[in-house]
Amino acid sequence: MQRIGVFVCWCGSNIAATVDVEKVSQVLAQEPGVVFSTNYQYMCSQAGQEMIQQSIKEYGLTGVVVCSCSPRMHETTFRKTCEKAGINPHMVEIANIREQCSWIHKDKEVGTEKAIILGRAAIAKVHLNTPLTAGTSPVVKRALVIGGGIAGIQTALDIADAGFEVDIVEKQPTIGGKMTQIDKTFPTLDCAACILTPKMVDAAQNEKIHIYSYSEVESVKGFVGNFNVTIKKKARYVDEVKCTGCGLCTEKCPQKKVPNLFNLGLDNRRAIYIPFAQAVPKVATIDADYCTMLKSGKCGVCSKVCTAGAINYQQKDEFFEQQYGAIVVATGFNPIKLDKYDEFAYSQSPDVVTSLEFERLMNAAGPTGGTLLRPSDGEHPHTIVFVQCVGSRCDDEKGKPYCSKICCMYTAKHAMLCREKYPDTDVYVFYIDVRTPGKNFDEFYRRAVEEYGVHYIKGMVGKVVPQDGKLKVQASDLLGNRQLHIDADMVVLAAAIEPDETARPLATKLTASMDTNDFFTEAHPKLRPVESPTAGIFLSGACQGPKDIPETVAQASAAAAKVIGLLCKDNLTCNPCTAEPNELMCNGCSSCEKVCPYGAITYVDKEFRGPNRTTLIRRVAQVNPAVCQGCGACTVACPSGAMDLKGFSNQQIMAEVDAICR
């Protein structure tokens, strides 16, 4: 018989307000095996933990039940507490009487009754707990970063700084991500390329960092400390080693009518291209959708002009495998498609642009060489209307339900830059709210209004009508209580941002969870913001939620710190709750082997003692505890009931069922 101690936590008033903690501890004291029962204001505090440890020693407890918050919160805390007092950490069970009781019920009587039942279930389980010892598994000292934008680059640099190998997998031909397309950054207005490109070069030159550009993650197997990743290197039809990045081919290619995606289709490039001058790696790539040679076998100009002999039309996609201890997701974001919002005439007029397109039109390396010109006729615009919250903050069926966070600030930046460069332009910004919670952000916005004379109007644009070379904007001015009609030259839409389309399939490969908007979820929204709930998977940048550059970089470094913390260890403690077969009952049917997602089960021939002093050789299952993750699929598949899961055994769960139904 176990000697069990019950500790009921008040959690201040969080539990005590709807659960009579005194009664709970008194009633549970009557349960068989309970030798001590008490309650305390904050069980997780220093004093509370000491109380548990003292009681363990004083009453010779062999098992502990803590009635408190969710085990996802403090199970580890209490296990450590008990371990220090000399009992096995797996002799502790938590009854979740906060998240699953006091917080969801208002009636104290109901809450108390339920808390008692939950406590009983935990006690019933502890009776059947056995001390468990965790094994260890080695850590591969190499990290994978998926996505080579500013988030991925920063994470990789920080991990490499600590002395670990890092691979960056980037689907585009160059690293750099969205930040390469941005002109200036708020609120300091320094040039994005000037602060980003040195980092790109650092990453390329760092011995510990290996960049796989134009590559994608094909599949992921394994678990924390030991992931096995297959990477697909897409055919770029150019030998990366031989190519010197001279760019001659990109000038001679006769296929000139390829939309330049780096400039968001605002101008054209050739079928063989280097995205931009500072690309890393600076290697040409052939766009197979447009290349005449690849499509019809007639051309070959690039191959003729290439003195390095780097062009290879026969190149195929390559696949290779690599082991990693940790994986960082940094897949970033994209502006949404605007076909649902054509009241702004985005598809009808080239002068209606998204904010990212506007960045290119302002950028010295952009299609207009940095002079702001209308895409339709190349004239200077004199009246520019900015519209915020396009597709953000919507009802679910109308768009994205969240605030895209960065739009208020970049719109203020755009408006300010327009007025600064071209003081003769009238700039209107239509807003619902101006949200500027960041260091020096509100000051920046106020400067746009006060010093730069940007017209901020509380209201929305309802309709844009392209007519006679103008954009007739119909909008509301809520504070002026009037409808406005503005003849604009350009309309700039602050389109909502959404996670990259590769994020969802990647999450499935990683078994990392996502929210309903396809942003990756973090292990804890406040306390573990850079870890995914899946061990060994970390989150960096906008794949976790909309973020500006400073936040992205901060999160990227935080993710790196977590990765370093993991890679520093030589071994990881495994989950001790693994499957274990009872060899005497196992009949060697292989049912468990077939369902195991990790291949942790093998079969061995073993000698058993038979009747009349004979020896029998039987085929029985064997579980590799370092590989088993403890899902329990095999325990249910086993027809003879030989397979059981430590920590969640059939007996334990049934004891809980009994206690609840009693």
Partner: protein, 123 residues
């Protein structure tokens, strides 16, 4: 009365985030003394009397531009219709009397226009 308007329109004015998209889209804006966004707010705060006496409720074209474009799916047109319905259902509150029709006709006016107006303006 507010509950009645909310019930027959099926609109929850609490969903409104006061962005002004409806008033920006409305082609009848200048014909109304209370504009669509105010309409939603006035229903929410219970200022129905003013709305019911407003001429603006007869100028809504039911073109559904506000319904289509509202980012929060508030559907202001349904509120306006509900208030108008509440008015014309009262005794002697018919907005368009059959006697007035002949004077408004011309040779080309389609039946559809008369039927529509009748459905909108009287019960």
């Amino acid at each position: 009365m507010v509950d009645f308007v909310k019930r027959i329109s099926g609109v929850n004015p609490r969903k409104c985030m006061k962005c002004g998209k409806c008033s920006a889209s409305c082609p009848a804006y200048d014909e109304m003394e209370y504009h669509p966004h105010q309409f939603v707010d006035m229903v929410e705060t219970g200022r129905l009397e003013e709305l019911m006496n407003s001429k603006g409720i007869y100028t809504c074209l039911s073109c559904f531009a506000c319904v289509e474009r509202c980012p929060r799916s508030v559907e202001p047109a349904k509120l306006i219709e509900a208030v108008r319905t509440a008015v014309v259902r009262q005794q002697d509150k018919t907005h368009l009397k059959p006697d007035a029709i002949p004077a408004l006709l011309d040779d080309e006016l389609p039946q559809q226009a008369i039927t529509s107006a009748f459905r909108k303006y009287r019960k």
